[in-house]
Symmetry: D2
């Protein structure tokens, strides 16, 4: 047995960063990860009980980030759970220093300029940034396993995007869906998806006993969905909602099949597409996924209902936004990159 | 000033019944309502603190129901907050005894046999039941105010149906929507909509931290929507979800306009249709209703987003399922029936 | 019938301010209140849907505060729902300008310097501040009705303090409690009690699925309890907890009776003390108040259990922290000040 | 490496049973457990998605229980997650059949008849039942590790009892607490502690936005606390409350130290007592445990505040009621019984 892999988490105190830290700390192929806050300037809030417990669990403290701290250890792989602007700055240097990177932000997910525009990146070196954008692999193992295996830079997918892409890819790739008719995803997410920064909209009193739609027709994850699926902007409507729960996503997706089909045909399409995929669960009708079923797992659960006309299809896709939608998927990507079993450290 | 109206609530201890009792007890045109349980046989649980407080608030106890108790008082109007089977039995006798009735169940809402079939009514006298079915007025004042004013039997609308019909009626009646393209309502309801009877699916642990879809393509409220709107079964997809909140409904509705329009045109359509309606609030874009905004009010809040193509429309419709979706609407119907101001007792 | 009273709310957009605004807007003795934000400098967030709906409901907009805006109207009474530092500044000027004031903050509740110390007030004119401190009447009508009636400055009680003082006053004043043995209040509050300012501890993810104790032995409301009750610091332990609910307070209070008593004796002590009090409800054993029972009402609900030894007493006291614990009590105080029925505008 | 241990879960579909099943299915020393419903008569609800997912995760179906099904496999250890009446019937036969048993119910926890009385057991053979009652070991490893190691019958502690006993044992055994002054535990539990059976009090609408006290002075877990601690009935007051969260317990405990002490002395008492205990975390003041910190772990977290007088002590003790309060502790007990590391299968 060889030496264990040395990993690093930058942004270990955010929601995804904490979840990731817990997973890495228990992963059998890894030595204790190095943990850093998001920001080299501000001192890390090690004094909070929450971070203290995390550090205790991980067996190491969370420190302010600096490149020099990585030199002493034989670091191979960096996880960035940082805001996208910071990822845009850190990644070029990380790649230059020969690290492999799994970036959990939206910084490197989008190939097409029209989709990237919403992020308003200000790259110090646009040429290098452009090169890295092209090299980056969209880290959805069920679709892109081979490129992930050889990648230096993984753009870990957005949480909403994961739930939608995995539900639609089988049918769209098989050409079963009438794209011109339009596809709708009515998605609902728990609050951790909005990040840890306190704001009026994440205040307990604003969220509890409530439901609200937001970013209708303009959510940033739509670009990812369009790039990973055979789907055009005008064919797709995406409405996210904020649920009064801490975590979990459900996407209720509406599509029209090209020709009348049976539930068995739809189920077979999913089962064939995801045969052997460790983290996909297809529900046989009439069973449907619920958010609780995939909570605190790395599963993407998919179920569906087909109308009597055999064409109107309702898909239900559920994930835990912090696991399959963020940290769990990042670990799954690492497992693919290093040739380990895909559920290593995720059970 | 004339005498005050004597009302009766049968089923005063259910969720809608309790809400209704609170409203009636404070209504300035009414004397203290008579309160009955759902069932003449079982003793009413007056011993529970909840019912004791309600009775104290209303100034009268909740008793087992019997017709003879109504005789002594000059009762004019009955509210039935009873299961639909029981309403189907009570209403013929109530009408025979010359009472006016507002029934909050699904017993008398549906004119078309194909829609009624899901309820599997067993009427002792099918002829009378059929006659009453024809006479019953669907109690949505914003659409049917005139018939309500003169009705003897009001079928108070279902909660989901209220949220969907009020959102779609203006556009569908104006012929702006491409019906053949199909309309989708992705609706979400708080748990009180499922009634007070304990069951595995209303257990706190099943609902909290969860979201679940149910009755996809087969919910009983669909019939009401089809009968009240110019809409055919094959044109409409309805997906209800159970939210981890006690009360409130949001329907996120997807429709395609016949021709490219502007947000202003859509807003005007709504404002014209609902001009002077006391309990409708139209939100100017980009503001959207949230469940909290209409909670504990009788408002139906409607907002919308129109895609850049001017055709893909997302409507958001929110109500409190126990008020505009049940007890509040019942009081509004009474106000219409007796020519009172429509917000009497509802502010 | 004389003219209606003109009131003002400063801080109309906080949780207590919004609740107060709703109450005043419907109060039959008042004309439309003038509404101001907390801060003369910052523009009021009238653009948020929440404030827009409030303004619509109240029939007037929320404006930045300035004294000059009050001059035009015959303002008589000011409600301050402002942070205590701001109240400490505004009140001297308001009294100078001959307004009566009901202040909902902690600025004027404490007579004893040792209790005030925790607030670290920086008064521009300490002499006037001291004089007003002496003049201020602690606005708990059940205890101080007469002084309230004639007061120019009402210090509206803290929410925790209201729940504890009302539960303990009857027994302590009757000398039934063994004070030296010590009294404990284990109190639990919904999140609105922590205010509207977003912070890590009010983030939905921090509060949901959680319970936390805080400020053990050092909460600012303890001073009020000690001043209003015959109770010394060393005799009293107060532990507040943050509940995962938007509103409501329960205080579970532990005391030892001087001599063995019966439940009937305890109940009579409460009933005698609170005879004729509109907003007190005493629960007969074995019934106990729950937070839901007083939610969205101005009631303080009190129940108790007495151990078999007749001495160990557990009191349960519940209020809605935004009503009897803030805005409702403020309205009740106004009703007392102006000689109106004590439930005017509160039903 | 020897053969893996064959275990059995009776009552695998209750909340504790499901949690236990998940733990056993991943435990490295065990083969796939046999899973049974609570009741030999009723068919197991394998059709529910929840149980189907559990069975899939465990790698085996849940069957109706019968002793004959155990014969074919070399079963050694039975976990009973059954109602106490059923445990009272099953255990004598299990012991007769030479199985070791860990019983999660209250059936075998109490040595003293006066404490057992509340359960009203009807034993077919009182003599054998009495013998087993004496043999049963109270399965709190931090206190009774040695007896657990050799036990045939483990009575797994109650959830409230675990949180209270572990918080009080160090101080009481060291004689630091003034017992005659009285000790109070104000405890709060999530709803899963009330079991899976639907009832009015576990209905989502009854629990959400609420807090309620219950069983004051008469909760069944008090007997366990008194038997495991040096504490008499008249010295202890226990008030449980139902929290609007699915899982987690916090006990806020009030005690008086015999003589003025320092926080350091109290902390040392805890640290000495629990030195080397894998599943105890002592929080250094001023940090306090919160329910979230121990959620989904087997930890018991303990923190405290000491008043300035050095005598009034507030202890905070948190556990996950389904783990350290039930299934996790059962696994910990198994680990002790078989000489495995105490965190095997619990990380």
């Amino acid at each position: 047995m060889g030496a264990k892999l040395q990993t690093v988490v930058v942004g270990a105190t955010g929601y995804a960063g904490m979840e990731l830290t817990r997973l890495l700390a228990r992963h059998p192929q890894l030595s204790t990860p190095l943990l850093f806050g998001r920001d080299g300037e501000r001192p890390v809030q090690n004094e909070t009980a929450e971070v203290a417990l995390l550090a205790h669990e991980a067996g190491t403290a969370v420190e302010p980030f600096s490149w020099s701290k990585l030199g002493a250890r034989k670091v191979e792989l960096l996880f960035l759970a940082t805001p996208h602007e910071l990822s845009r700055t850190l990644v070029p240097e990380a790649i230059e220093r020969k690290y492999r990177v799994i970036d959990l932000s939206g910084a490197w997910r989008l190939k097409q300029e029209q989709h990237r525009a919403v992020y308003e990146f200000h790259d110090p070196d646009p040429e290098i940034a452009g090169e890295l954008t092209n090299q980056a692999v969209y880290g959805l193992p069920e679709l892109n396993r081979e490129q992930i295996a050889g990648a230096r830079l993984i753009a870990n997918p957005g949480c909403y995007a994961t739930s939608v892409i995995l539900a639609l890819a089988p049918l769209l790739r098989a050409g079963l869906v009438d794209r011109e008719h339009g596809i709708i995803s009515d998605s609902k997410s728990g609050v951790s998806g909005a990040g840890k920064e306190p704001s009026p909209r994440t205040h307990f009193v604003s969220v509890a006993d409530n439901l609200s739609a937001y970013s209708v027709f303009c959510h940033r994850h739509v670009g990812e969905m369009l790039e990973q699926l055979p789907l055009e902007l005008g064919e797709f409507t995406f409405t996210p909602h904020l649920l009064p729960i801490p975590r979990g996503i459900m996407s209720t997706i509406y599509a029209r099949l090209r020709r009348p089909s049976t539930p068995a045909e739809v189920e077979i399409c999913f089962r064939d597409f995801y045969r052997g995929q460790r983290w996909m669960r297809i529900f046989p009708p009439p069973q449907l996924p619920q958010i609780q079923f995939s909570l605190r797992t790395n599963y993407c659960d998919i179920g569906f209902c087909l109308a009597d006309d055999g064409q109107r299809l309702v898909l239900i896709s559920c994930i835990d936004n912090l696991l399959k939608g963020a940290a769990g998927q990042a670990v799954q990507n690492m497992n693919v990159m290093y040739g380990w079993k895909e559920d290593e450290g995720l059970n």
